[in-house]
């Protein structure tokens, strides 16, 4: 069978257009060598929600019949390449469909490739990715996650860098010439982007991940009930009311054991319990009821329930009492309050390190104000891997749109 199946794992809203470009780019590049292809999004996802992990797929094959063969499963069971557009997804993804937590490398075939955009080291990333029984290759494009919005697009060349890297990973399906030709012709393409794709091709870093390496945690999973076990009338039991913490103090709500949502998070709140004034605002404002009330009246953000929206940081009246920090700087979902209770001095040191990380506290969500993109360009914050990027590139090939 000569076919290539790629999944593109991305963040809802922030990367929806980016993922669609990559998927289309794969098919159109392969078409240049006469292959057939299809690009589609996983329908069970809800990519119109901020940060929600979602997937697109692209399948290319030598013949139409082979393409059909691979499309017989709407959602492929295995992928030759798993493309990850944000490295915080390395911790695994929980889709809106009822899958539990899926390791990022779950669908990747043995000896297949996980291709990621990341500035982290290989070792640091591999700690996040679940261990598995077959080796695979981790390939890195050196770039931070490209986040924008549904109506704005960050022209930082990420889409073409991914395509260039794929030409290195799967040249038999995506020869670099074809990729470059497709980029040149596509309505969002340009000569500059061709140069970026070539550089990404040449600069791709990769290493084999052994079966002994990775996060050994078993991802949470559950069995779905039979039709005759389910309550009738489209009715489900409510989540039971929660319980006080120790000594009848505080309050911890019960939570949905089947749907945790925390893989939506790209940043998490880090809380200074020493400066907390116990005003309740974070607790009231949290759209996901993620705060547990501690016996001393402070609030601990429960990392199994936090989506990382940042509302708590916005409403907190005390400076640096709640600080959003990039998810890649954390290894687990352990309670911050318990860490603080155990050793307050050590917690303070930990907290200062986390919130003092300049890169880690940069807001990872999309554009927040007019002119931010120009500001980032001026600051040299965008690494295209190619030539100089200027604002206004989307118009370069606009003529294609009206042909």
């Amino acid at each position: 069978m000569a076919s290539l199946i790629a999944e593109i794992v991305y963040r809802g809203i922030f990367q929806k257009n980016l993922a669609a470009r990559v998927a289309r780019g794969i098919v159109l590049s392969a078409r240049k060598s006469g292959r057939w292809g299809i690009a589609f999004g996983r329908y069970g996802d809800s990519p119109q929600r901020n940060g929600i992990p979602a997937k697109d797929f692209a399948i290319v094959a030598d013949t139409k019949e082979e393409l059909e063969q691979n499309m017989a499963r709407y959602e492929p069971k295995h992928t030759d390449v798993t493309i990850v557009l944000d490295d915080t997804l390395a911790k695994g993804v929980e889709s809106w469909a009822w899958y539990g937590l899926q390791p990022i490398n779950k669908l990747t075939v043995p000896n297949g490739t996980v291709l990621m955009t990341s500035l982290q080291s290989f070792d640091s990333l591999i700690e996040d990715v679940h261990k598995r029984e077959e080796p695979y290759t981790l390939a890195l494009i050196r770039a931070k996650a490209s986040f924008s919005g549904l109506w704005v697009y960050r022209e930082d060349h990420t889409e073409v860098r991914v395509l260039g890297a794929l030409a290195k990973i799967a040249p038999q399906f995506l020869p670099l010439d074809g990729v470059c030709q497709a980029i040149q012709e596509i309505d969002w393409g340009s000569d500059l982007k061709v140069a970026s794709a070539k550089k990404a091709h040449d600069r791709l870093e990769s290493r084999v991940v052994k079966i002994t390496e990775g996060n050994a945690e078993a991802p949470f999973a559950f069995e779905k009930p039979k039709w005759w076990e389910m309550r009738e009338g489209v009715t489900i039991p409510a989540i039971p009311i929660g319980k006080p913490k120790e000594g009848g103090e505080g309050y911890v709500p019960d939570r949905n054991p089947y749907f945790k949502k925390y893989t939506t998070r790209t940043m998490r709140p880090v809380i200074d319990f020493d400066t907390c004034v116990k005003c309740n605002l974070c607790w009231i404002s949290c759209p996901d009821s993620c705060f547990d009330v501690m016996p001393d009246g402070t609030f601990d953000a429960n990392m199994e329930a936090c989506c990382g929206c940042g509302v708590c940081e916005a409403v907190c009246p005390v400076e640096q009492c709640v600080t959003m920090v990039n998810e890649s700087l954390f290894e687990d979902n352990a309670s911050q309050w318990e860490m603080w209770r155990k050793d307050q001095a050590a917690y303070k040191t930990w907290l200062v390190t986390k919130i003092g990380d300049k890169q880690g506290t940069l807001r990872s969500h999309g554009f927040r104000f007019r002119g931010q993109y120009e500001q980032e360009l001026a600051a040299g914050d965008l690494d295209s891997g190619g030539g100089v990027i200027t604002a206004g590139i989307p118009g370069e090939n606009a003529a294609h749109k009206t042909q």
Partner: protein, 409 residues
């Protein structure tokens, strides 16, 4: 397998685009140069309205684009626009289509030759957006023509053919084209888009003639009527639907003549049925897992074929009987339900049963329900259905019950 390098398939006057079924419909609507389109968002149909809006925004299509305040108005507006001579389009999904029901009911008796795209979606409750065919089937008894499509190419071609059929004065009935949510509306495939010149050779302008509301043609549309008139009006619709059989055959033949592609048999696609002992029947994109399963089963010596129904109204009962009479068993896989129906079967199974009633040879018929709410129909489901059909072929008896495939039980 050796790498086969395909020559660029697009003839000089055609271009090849990577587009979804929804975008393919918008391409066809642009080529058909529609005049009025109404929109109201509901997934998965909303991808069509977005694609049309883009066409207008890019200056490729000049049309009135009216965002209605709900599906009811959406279909009411195009009905009126059509009576003054506009070529119109609207669409919806699931309960949105249901909300438009009052307007959908009046469209056929007024002989409004509109096109609608139903992006098939499960009906609430539970709120869900996966494919089920019950939404489009709401209108099966009302004078709407109904067909199901399978690929982006078929979406484009059927939209063009659809206007040709609906606007034929012998028919003048609305047509709803059904597209499976997700599998077709959200998947981008390589699709040939013909030139406007070619389309103009195939699709004449909409001419409403003596039915057009115009100051020069003073008429009253839809006066109140009592029992002195109603049954005659129904009989007119009945005749128009019967005439559609001929018009559909003609339109497909002409499409093939102009574009050099398209099926010889408009009504259904037959895949490996020539020597088939078991023939499976389905509508829409379910064809894909069935075809792949058939190839695998044939490698094991099982002679299985697929009959994918394109047209449901008018229902091709005569051709179906001919095609099915040589099978040893028939398996109908419905992506819909009809609770309390004969044998608790799906809609298509009972239509096929009715069609076969007068046939000289009636092979055993087994009914299956699968893929509801967007659940994937798996290769193993198809193989299990085939095995049940083979058992029926051996016993010569139809199973009196309906089998559910892919349900957790």
């Amino acid at each position: 397998m050796a790498v086969v390098t395909q020559a660029a398939t697009a003839a000089s006057d055609e271009k090849e685009l990577l587009i979804s079924g929804s975008e393919a419909v918008a391409e066809a609507l642009t080529l058909a140069d529609i005049d009025v389109v109404t929109a109201y968002p509901i997934r998965p149909y909303d991808t069509v309205m977005q694609a049309i809006a883009k066409k207008i925004a890019n200056g490729q299509l000049v049309a009135e684009y009216i965002v209605a305040e709900g599906e009811h108005s959406q279909f009411e507006i195009v009905k009126h626009a059509s009576t003054v001579g506009a070529r119109v389009f609207a669409g919806s999904s699931g309960v949105g289509w249901a909300y438009a029901m009052e307007c959908l009911v009046v469209t056929p008796p007024l002989r409004v030759p509109m096109l609608a795209l139903v992006g098939n979606r499960a009906l609430d409750d539970p709120g869900a957006f996966g494919v089920e065919h019950n939404d489009a089937l709401f209108v099966r008894d009302l004078g709407w023509m109904l067909c199901w499509i399978d690929t982006s190419q078929e979406a484009l071609d059927t939209t063009l053919i659809g206007y040709r059929i609906a606007e034929d004065r012998r028919v003048f009935l609305p047509l709803a084209i059904s597209a499976d949510g997700a599998f077709l509306t959200h998947s981008q495939a390589l699709t040939l888009v013909p030139s406007k010149q070619k389309v103009d050779r195939f699709l004449p302008a909409y001419n409403r003639g003596d039915l057009q509301l115009h100051p020069d043609n003073p008429i009253t549309v839809a006066p109140q009527a009592n029992e002195d008139w109603v049954i005659e009006i129904r009989r007119q619709n009945d005749e128009a639907m019967k005439r559609a059989y001929t018009v559909i055959e003609e339109a497909y033949a002409d499409f093939r003549r102009v574009f050099g592609r398209g099926p010889e048999n408009p009504w259904f696609e037959e895949y490996m049925t020539d020597d088939a002992e078991v023939v499976l029947i389905g509508m829409g994109t379910i064809s894909l897992p069935i075809k792949v399963a058939i190839r695998e089963m044939r490698a094991q010596g099982k002679k299985v074929g697929l009959l994918r129904l394109r047209w449901f109204r008018p229902f091709p009962y005569e051709r179906l009987v001919t095609a099915l009479s040589k099978a040893q068993a028939i398996g109908v896989i419905d992506r819909n339900y009809s609770f309390g129906s004969p044998f608790a079967s799906g809609v298509v199974a009972n239509e096929v049963r009715a069609a076969m009633y007068n046939a000289e040879r009636r092979p055993p018929l087994i009914s299956f329900i699968s893929g509801l709410g967007g659940r994937e129909v798996m290769l193993d489901d198809v193989k299990k259905a085939t095995d049940i059909c083979y058992a029926a072929a051996r016993s010569g008896q139809s199973d009196a019950k309906t089998h559910w495939l892919g349900v957790r039980d």
